[in-house]
């Protein structure tokens, strides 16, 4: 029974997290062995141990680089992105007391898209660095707009969601306006690809940046986990329990905007993970955030690595956008959870 698990102390959580970590190690290992370039298992292992400096085996440079620089860095960035989006989803669902809340509900994704499209189509700057910075700036512009519209997040969850919807509409309209008035077919395709997300361009530098941002974000969220629990009862009850509601909400919004903007500027707007994973994790470990957040991180990481593997192998000599896969794989999975979690008559 789910209620037993959620009340049942740290033992169940520890077992679950251990299982998920083993699963994560397994899927990352799988990700390093699967790909267009066929490389033997022994060579893969040696390439990884070489990368960590444990061995100095003499294997072909090209195979070593494919495993270490392309596949492993990609798998780990995918894991972090999945973890980050899932954490953000859980936080926002709690803060806004809305089961449909997800990282993009604050308009962050729409803002990032507008920023990226400005760079792609209007040619403000060039190259991937300016693209990321454009996306990041757009994401924070959207976040700032939502914060202003909802009075620095003091005016309650519904107001914030409406502000987020308004911001998303505004920035989506801006994106469409720019693409239709100044883009050509090729640019429209670039934009579409960017909007659906891709782990194609990530390298070790991205991994390091994302590690710092997500570790910091997760630490802040865990530190405020008890306050988050109080939010579940509503703003007034939380305030009665001594939680500084407005301040904590603003801080946690800023943390989620930071994590989401970093992820979106790196790999594009990958939908569905932030919405679904918290529900799945809540079903397994219960709603207490000190347990839910680590579980979300673990489940999100495993799910995203699996989705990325699928996006690479589903079409030969072509990469399918990751956002397509997360939804195609995620919806049936989500359907099972919904079905099993239906209220008992």
């Amino acid at each position: 029974m789910p209620s037993d698990r959620s009340e049942g102390g740290a033992g169940w959580l520890a077992i679950f997290l251990a299982l998920m970590l083993i699963a994560l190690a397994f899927v990352v290992a799988l990700a390093t062995t699967i790909g267009d370039f066929s490389i033997g298992l022994g060579t893969v292992v040696l390439a990884i141990t070489n990368g960590f400096g444990l061995t100095h085996a003499d294997i072909p440079r090209i195979q070593e680089a494919v495993v270490w620089d392309l596949r492993l860095s990609r798998a780990l960035v995918a894991a972090l992105a999945g973890a980050g989006l899932a954490i953000c989803g859980a936080i926002l669902q709690a803060l806004l007391r809305n089961a449909l809340a997800e990282p993009f509900v604050l308009g962050v994704s729409a803002g990032a898209s507008t920023g990226a499209v400005c760079v792609i189509v209007l040619g403000i700057g060039a190259g991937s660095l300016t693209l990321s910075m454009g996306a990041f700036a757009g994401a924070f512009a959207a976040f700032a707009l939502v914060a202003i519209l909802s009075n620095g997040a003091t005016s309650g969850p519904n107001h914030t969601i409406l502000a987020g919807v308004a911001a998303a509409q505004l920035f989506n309209a801006l994106t469409s306006y720019i693409v239709t008035t100044s883009g050509n077919a090729q640019q429209a395709r670039d934009v579409m690809f960017w909007l659906l997300g891709s782990f194609g361009g990530v390298r070790w530098g991205d991994f390091q940046l994302l590690t710092v941002v997500i570790a910091l974000g997760l630490a802040i969220c865990l530190w405020m986990a008890r306050s988050l629990d109080a939010f579940t009862f509503g703003d007034e009850d939380a305030a009665a329990l001594g939680v500084p509601v407005a301040r904590i909400r603003l801080i946690l919004f800023a943390v989620t905007a930071m994590i989401t903007a970093t992820i979106v500027s790196m790999v594009g707007a990958i939908g569905f993970v932030g919405l679904v994973v918290p529900h799945a994790a809540r079903y397994v470990v219960g709603p207490i955030h000190l347990r839910l957040l680590p579980a979300c991180a673990a489940v999100g990481a495993v799910f995203m690595v699996l989705a990325d593997i699928a996006s690479r192998v589903v079409a030969t000599q072509q990469t399918v956008p990751i956002g397509v896969v997360t939804a195609l794989v995620g919806v049936p999975f989500f359907a099972i959870i919904l079905y099993r979690a239906r209220p008992q008559a």
Partner: protein
């Protein structure tokens, strides 16, 4: 072999030239152009009909070096050029402009890499020199046989679209192929 590419043989292009020439009342010049293009095509096919069958990678552009690359796909004009030159496209997809990560490109292991010169200046890698600089300096990509063997050629990016320039592009590649030692 020509029938294998969706793009060739060039009947539709020649028909278009013929129609346009008739509309503008210069049918004789249209015929002359078609004859010229056919002759160029035949010359290339004859010259490269030997026992060397290289595979070509047509790299159109990339937003950044690390990003997935836009390539000339399977049976489009790029495949037609490869076919004219006695070889085939290393990228076999049906899509005209597939995007592919570097692992996929390394796995395709082309004999020759065609770095296209795209004159729009939108991405840093539109420029053929920037492509060659990346191919030869990246520690991984520079290990490809084509790069190690110096088999990188430059071609106008416009030739990767279906037009009369496609044949000129094939000639541009052919000129550089003659100086290369193909395996």
């Amino acid at each position: 072999m020509a029938a294998e590419t969706r793009f060739g043989p060039w009947t539709s292009l020649y028909k278009e030239i013929e129609d346009l020439a008739r509309i503008f009342d210069v049918a004789d010049r249209g015929e002359a152009l078609i004859a010229d293009l056919k002759q160029r095509e035949a010359a290339l096919r004859a010259e490269f009909s030997g026992d060397k069958h290289p595979t070509f990678l047509f790299w159109f552009s990339s937003p950044s070096p690390a990003d997935d690359a836009y390539l000339g796909g399977g049976n489009g004009p790029s495949g037609y050029i490869a076919d004219l030159l006695g070889g085939s496209n290393a990228i076999k997809t049906e899509a005209d402009w597939p995007t592919l990560g570097w692992e996929g490109i390394l796995a395709a292991d082309p004999t020759v890499i065609v770095a296209s010169q795209v004159d729009r200046n939108r991405w840093e890698l539109d420029n053929a020199d920037a492509k060659i600089a990346y191919l030869t300096s990246d520690p991984t990509v520079s290990q490809m046989d084509a790069v190690k063997g110096g088999r990188i050629v430059v071609m106008s990016g416009a030739a990767m679209n279906p037009s009369i320039r496609t044949i000129y592009g094939a000639e541009e590649v052919a000129k550089q192929l003659r100086t290369l030692d193909l395996p």
